[in-house]
């Protein structure tokens, strides 16, 4: 009897949470598919998105920024977090605090401050955003990798690999990276999600990226704006599923030497 009551309670909570999450989604999707004031539904609003000038260009810009941010992020974070786990334990607290800073420092301060710190070669290109996105994403990407590394006896695995003839770079590429691949994919996804959705920094620094373009374009068409929001959401979900699928699969591939 008590168990049944508990089950019923769980089901009610699940139902309420489900409604809370999915009803707005349903409402937004339904609204985005209306054909103006008519009672019929269709994909007009979605077609409208693609017809707007700048769609492809701005998506391409954001894609390039994202790719650079992902590469930078992994190149910096994976070796750093690995080192912290292997021999930098005493700096771990300090680094943890440092990685929190992007959450505390207002984006406006970051925009102006970080821009001044960047080398002049980057100052006038849109790719300066990639560097800032790496910093903004750090609280999340650091933790994703940190958790991944904590779950494995990293020192022993490293010692074993070194003993078997692996140089440090091989230890990193052939042992550590494949071992924490799910975490690397999580960090990658967080980086992508942030780059695809970041508006404030781009706007403050006067760059037109996809999110900035979306904001501008959607001001002319309320149904179109909703379609954009729903579309972005589904796109992000698709990415997430993709990364989970590839990241979670057990790989049998150590880099093959020719």
């Amino acid at each position: 009897m008590a168990t049944e009551m508990k089950n019923l309670g769980s089901k009610i909570i699940l139902l309420v949470t489900g409604i809370f999450i999915f009803f707005p989604l349903y409402a937004a999707t339904e609204f985005s598919m209306r054909n103006g004031a008519e009672k019929t539904h269709g994909l007009n609003a979605y077609r409208w998105i693609f017809q707007q000038s700048g769609f492809a260009e701005n998506l391409a810009i954001t894609a390039r920024i994202t790719v650079l941010a992902v590469v930078l992020n992994l190149l910096i974070m994976v070796p750093t977090v690995t080192w912290l786990h292997l021999s930098g334990q005493r700096y771990k607290r300090l680094i943890e605090i440092l990685t929190i800073l992007p959450l505390i420092i207002p984006v406006v301060a970051l925009a102006t401050g970080a821009q001044l710190a960047l080398p002049s070669i980057l100052e006038n290109t849109v790719y300066e955003l990639s560097f800032m996105y790496v910093v903004v994403a750090m609280p999340y990407t650091y933790r994703a990798l940190d958790i991944g590394l904590s779950g494995h006896p990293l020192a022993t695995l490293t010692n074993a690999a070194r003993n078997l003839g692996a140089s440090w770079i091989r230890v990193l590429m052939n042992v550590i990276v494949p071992t924490i691949r799910p975490s690397i994919f999580a960090a990658l996804f967080l980086m992508v999600a942030l780059s695809l959705g970041e508006f404030t920094l781009a706007q403050l620094l006067h760059w037109t990226t996809f999110p900035v373009w979306v904001t501008n374009a959607s001001q002319q068409n309320i149904i179109g704006a909703t379609a954009l929001a729903v579309g972005s959401l589904f796109f992000a979900w698709l990415l997430l599923f993709g990364f989970t699928f590839f990241g979670g699969k057990n790989s049998n591939t150590v880099q093959e030497e020719a």
Partner: protein, 345 residues
């Protein structure tokens, strides 16, 4: 004539104020299995890690087959190592784990497959190629780790307490198997352990370490029967500690005059170190002790007595001779050995 495969000279390692390894020297002959035995924190693992190149020494040298490798990084030393903690790469299956070292050496796939197959057969895991670490028992994981270390045909095999995470039965089986493989392949092996039975049962020689120093290195028999120091005698096997007086190189115990072996400059009041099996209990009417307990161990029995002076003495005898001994029995203790190691009281 045997040649020394591994020559370690004067290794010293300090961690802050702690001296983990103090002028540690060791020679291991080709094809020999040497165990380093000692309590935790005695420096045995540090010694092994320095030999493997996983740690730096403050002083001293390591030579492998007459080549000085003191400053070589770990990955170019041709040594195989098995660790205490499970160390299989979780993203690779058994065959891939074993092949790892060969891949790093750029061995062709055909040769690699061949070697992996034969070594897995040798460790009795020839049907587990495609398994992953999480699908194997602890004993199986260590077998794979052993295969992985041996397949590269290392000049020296280093074993860092590889059995201590396993349960008793598996531990005994695997240690016999390590010895079998080691003899079969003729691999020079250095085996670190804190378990004296493990060290004594499979090694050609055992080095007993204490506080970063090698106290004595000898065959298991010599180590047991002729310990050089009190520490060795006490750490290896059980020892009775009997207070007595040293006069003219002799001690007097239970009415017997016995030659004393000194480990230092002992004189006057000393402690005699005597193995339980070197003491026997007689019931011939005379009495110098009372039986406290008798534990039946099968073929032998352990009899604990209290001398009339109040010292507890342990004797190990065949059970047949102890049948009528009971707590409270008056007995005569008798020492069987002609020489006894003494140490300062």
């Amino acid at each position: 004539m045997t040649t020394d495969s591994l020559v370690v000279g004067g290794l010293t390692r300090q961690f802050g104020a702690v001296v983990a390894l103090d002028n540690f020297s060791l020679n291991v002959a080709k094809g020999e299995l040497v165990a380093l035995l000692g309590p935790s924190g005695c420096g045995k693992t540090t010694a092994l890690r320095i030999i493997a190149g996983l740690e730096k020494s403050n002083a001293g040298s390591v030579q492998l087959n007459t080549k000085d490798i003191t400053n070589d990084p770990a990955h170019v030393r041709n040594m195989g190592m098995v660790f205490q903690a499970y160390s299989l790469f979780p993203h690779l299956n058994v065959a891939e784990n074993v092949a790892f070292g060969l891949k790093m050496r750029k061995v062709s796939k055909a040769v690699r497959d061949n070697k992996v197959n034969s070594i897995l057969e040798l460790v009795g895991l020839d049907h587990h190629h495609k398994r992953f670490a999480h699908q194997l028992s602890g004993g199986q994981q260590q077998r794979v780790a052993l295969a992985r270390a041996l397949v590269i045909e290392p000049e020296v095999l280093l074993l860092d307490e590889p059995l201590s995470a396993l349960d008793a039965q598996v531990r005994t089986n695997l240690r016999e198997e390590i010895r079998r493989l080691q003899l079969e392949l003729g691999t020079t092996t250095l085996f670190v352990t804190h378990d004296q039975e493990e060290a004594m049962s499979i090694s050609d020689r055992v080095g007993v370490m204490n506080k970063g120093k090698l106290e004595q290195i000898d065959t298991p028999d010599t180590l047991y029967n002729k310990p050089a120091t009190e520490f060795v005698g006490t750490f290896v096997g059980t020892m009775n500690h009997l207070p007595t007086t040293l006069i003219d190189g002799h001690i007097n115990l239970f009415g017997q005059n016995i030659v004393a072996l000194k480990s230092g400059n002992e004189s006057g009041n000393v402690i005699a170190l005597i193995r339980p099996e070197a003491i026997t209990v007689k019931t011939d009417g005379t009495s110098n002790a009372t039986v406290v307990t008798r534990s039946f161990l099968g073929a032998s029995s352990r009899v604990t007595c209290k001398t009339h002076e109040g010292t507890l003495v342990e004797a190990l005898m065949t059970s047949a001779a102890t049948g009528d001994l009971h707590p409270g029995s008056e007995v005569q203790l008798h020492i069987l050995s002609k020489e006894v190691l003494v140490t300062n009281a």
